[in-house]
Subunit: 515 residues, 2 copies
């Protein structure tokens, strides 16, 4: 008979179980007990237990089994076993853990309360430690979406993300970053801004995302030039050597809590502003950014429809950044149609190469220089009103292109890459104008859907080449855009998609009729 | 190469997989694919797939494995295999299914919209079919909690529960039911009301719950007399023969959606009023109830603190019941201290037996007769103001006790049960008054905690015997209450608990001081 702290006899329970390892990646920590063992230990389905092996400890959610797991055994998934450094047959100590404190705080948020910095840090820590179930996290996100997240709560969440993730410490400066809230096809400004700034002597340790619903993400596109999956230490080396990098954010643990939250946000398409802002700014803080320019595209087919909404978001960005010690400028840009003409990884790479070499790609170059110029002015590297020119000069004098190739080399790609090295699909189809007129709209969302149907971003050579843009006059039979695919079947699928959801609209005289 | 509906060639994908059965009760439908198979079929973690085997079809959430599941195999848990009637090695057809419609409706509720009957039915159906993840359901519950559920939404939810569950069709009447919103220790009125009404010729097919956080649930207590886990058909037979029954609601599928929702509500202790009311009234509708009396205990230590809140809840009950075709009366009762003196399954049984035989248990008998009387008046069996007397007469003339034993026998228990057959723990400890005074409060929540520490409701003989109630004058050293346990260790644990959270309070002259 054991005794508790007061010397009181307490009912004896087995708490040592033999590990049985299931080779399943469950994506969450689950511990499976024999049903009788569970009953005898007052452990129930969906309870939380801590499992200890040596110095390692992990929190898992309980499942039970009638016969696959024998008495005295505990079955765990491979991902947990790896984290616990446990082999089949090792003995694990199991401790029933108390209800997470977060549940009170989530409840408080549901009841329209405001959470303190400490309360938010607790939620973040317990999330990272897997103490919260999928349902509990979903409740937190729902509450944040419905009741809103205040400025202070958002700052606390960003700080907690930094505190519980890894950080990049360059020990140098100035460090700048850029961000685009997304939604515009072909908007590959990062691939120009990074080499421009690095060539201007500014550190820009840029991490980007892969596409979720768009044709391609910055990481998907730069991957054509060089590996983007770099451990933090390698990323640090690239930046210290070249001043810039273009890596995939998902490869480093900048904000592990964010990955868990995003996974749940995606299924309901919930983007509570507070979570979105803290996720973006927390990651900028984690790489040490001191200066930031944010691109907020607005317009029909973009994520944000009108200027009022765009300005309100810009104000939030600036207020929160300030509290995090990041000097930020937001640019409200025209997001009503795609930027540039290449959509899809390979096609975007070709446009970036031409744009950086003053061959072609004017629209992309102009926007990138405007953005880079704003950062140069913000830092004080360029007098007000001259930043864009300074950026353009760094392209014209070849320094940005040279820097671009340097970064490619340091990330492990081929610095002597030629346009003919870039994959472009062989299966092509031109979509022609069905009548003459002026183009009034090119829809970003529909362009993205057609490019994805063609295989982008998985098939690096797939995508769309835009032949016309908003405002252009076309005649019946002129090519509007071209679909590019790596296989006949995907090309056919994209053509069908294009017919079902035409992305180009011609100007109409009568917009509607009321009778 | 396959062709789609338009005769278009589409990329060929394998959709037949060989079943590998894992003997795990996961409590949810999971399908584990080999990682490469998943990638090739555009299936990702947390996606939904439909699995078909013969005429059976089940929706499952996707997991992946690197090597335990071979290419061409799909691993499923035992609960799914049973439902699909699948054996190891059977071939399953897998179809990637579209996003559930419910997600739009859940989002609508988050955006403060009101859901139509059809939208709610869709959410309920997709929940029952396992098309929604734990996180999505949690978002729905959170939205209902934060934004509230309107009367019409609540009625729709109750109707949807009836439509997607099983129903009891007795083909006889009148059919009555009772409900208590809970929170009062020892409140075992059901065990008296059922035999009283059945003896009066009223059908009362009563299902009850087990304890979640209280010392004992009605089902836990009646289980001492007879089995309470009865399939619906057996329950029907008992009711047709005796007019009454006392079974555990969890054993029949009255509202499968409710079980799923409750499981998620519990972790955050969320009781959105709309979900609570539809859950209660949907189940009453499912057993065919035409008349209903609801006990709403209020007061310190009860679930509801004051009369205003109690009356508001009563109004909701009546409005919603009316739309469901149930004639309902609500009784606001004193819930500020326990009812009766026995707390815990066995001790409550003894009190019920004495109470039904006019030996003892006056308080429990009086409340039960008042409630049963209200039902008799509602049905028109007793003139207004005489129901409680009619109920008391059915106890005095022995008919209720005879009926009680009849029901025990039909449910498979021993009708000749004697007080000495009832389990009562041997380990006892008396808690004495530390000073003299008048008892001002006996806290239900704390009494429940101590009884649970003593082993109740799992240990049928464990619990508490109350020696005094609110208003009694006691002298220092008088016994306030007695803890009863089946083992020395649990008795010690309960004594420690009792010392930490004393449930009895004496009247004070000065209630607070402000300086």
């Amino acid at each position: 008979m054991k005794r508790d702290n007061n010397g009181l006899k307490i009912p004896q329970k087995t708490n040592i179980f033999k590990a049985k390892i299931l080779d399943i990646e469950a994506g969450k920590n689950i511990a499976i007990f024999n049903e009788e063992d569970a009953n005898n230990n007052d452990i129930y389905l969906a309870d939380r237990v801590s499992m200890k092996h040596g110095s390692k400890e992990i929190i898992a959610i309980v499942d039970t089994s009638e016969s696959m797991v024998k008495r005295g055994e505990i079955a765990i998934y491979k991902d947990i076993a790896d984290q616990l450094k446990t082999k089949e047959g090792d003995m694990l100590e199991i401790v029933h853990i108390p209800t997470p404190k977060s549940l009170d705080y989530i409840r408080k948020k549901m009841d329209r309360g405001f959470l303190s910095e400490e309360e938010i840090l607790t939620i973040v820590k317990e999330t990272v430690e897997n103490r919260l179930s999928e349902g509990e996290l979903a409740s937190f996100i729902s509450a944040a979406y419905i009741n809103g997240f205040g400025i202070n709560e958002t700052v606390s969440l960003a700080k907690s993300m930094v505190q519980t993730g890894v950080t990049l410490d360059l020990g140098k400066g100035p460090i700048a970053d850029k961000h685009c809230i997304g939604g515009v096809a072909g908007n590959r400004t990062t691939l120009l801004i990074v080499p421009i700034l690095a060539a201007a002597g500014v550190y820009i340790p840029k991490t980007s995302s892969r596409a979720i619903s768009s044709a391609s993400g910055t990481a998907d596109t730069f991957e054509v030039f060089a590996p983007v999956i770099l451990p933090l230490e390698d990323m640090r080396k690239v930046v210290l050597k070249t001043k810039g990098c273009m890596t995939w954010g998902g490869a480093i643990n900048l904000a592990p809590v964010d990955d868990k939250l995003i996974r749940i946000r995606n299924s309901l398409h919930l983007d509570p502003k507070g979570l979105l802002l803290s996720s973006i700014l927390g990651k900028k803080k984690a790489v040490g950014a001191e200066y930031l320019v944010v691109d907020i595209p607005i317009g029909r087919g973009a994520k944000i429809q009108d200027e009022t909404e765009g300005k309100s978001l810009a104000n939030d960005f600036i207020q929160i950044s300030e509290k995090l010690g990041i000097k930020t400028r937001c640019l409200i840009t025209d997001g009503s149609d795609p930027i540039g003409y290449g959509i899809g990884p390979g096609l975007e790479c070709l446009e970036v190469m031409k744009s950086l070499q003053m061959k072609d790609g004017n629209e992309l170059r102009e926007k990138s220089c405007l953005m880079a110029g704003n950062i140069l002015e913000l830092i004080g590297k360029a007098p007000v009103g001259t930043g864009a020119d300074m950026a353009l000069n760094l392209i014209k004098n070849g320094k940005a292109w040279k820097k671009f190739k340097e970064i490619i080399e340091e990330q492990g790609g081929n610095p002597n890459v030629r346009e003919s090295d870039i994959p472009v699909g062989e299966y092509r189809f031109k979509i022609e104008a069905e009548k003459s007129g002026r183009i009034s709209h090119v829809d970003n969302k529909l362009i993205n859907k057609i490019a994805r149907a063609a295989g982008s971003p998985k098939d690096k050579g797939a995508g769309i080449i835009l032949h016309c843009e908003m405002g252009d006059k076309v005649n019946k039979g002129d090519t509007l855009y071209e679909i590019v695919a790596e296989s006949e079947s995907k090309l056919s699928f994209a053509i069908e998609t294009a017919k079902a959801i035409p992305p180009y609209e011609l100007q109409k005289v009568i917009l509607g009729k009321v009778e």
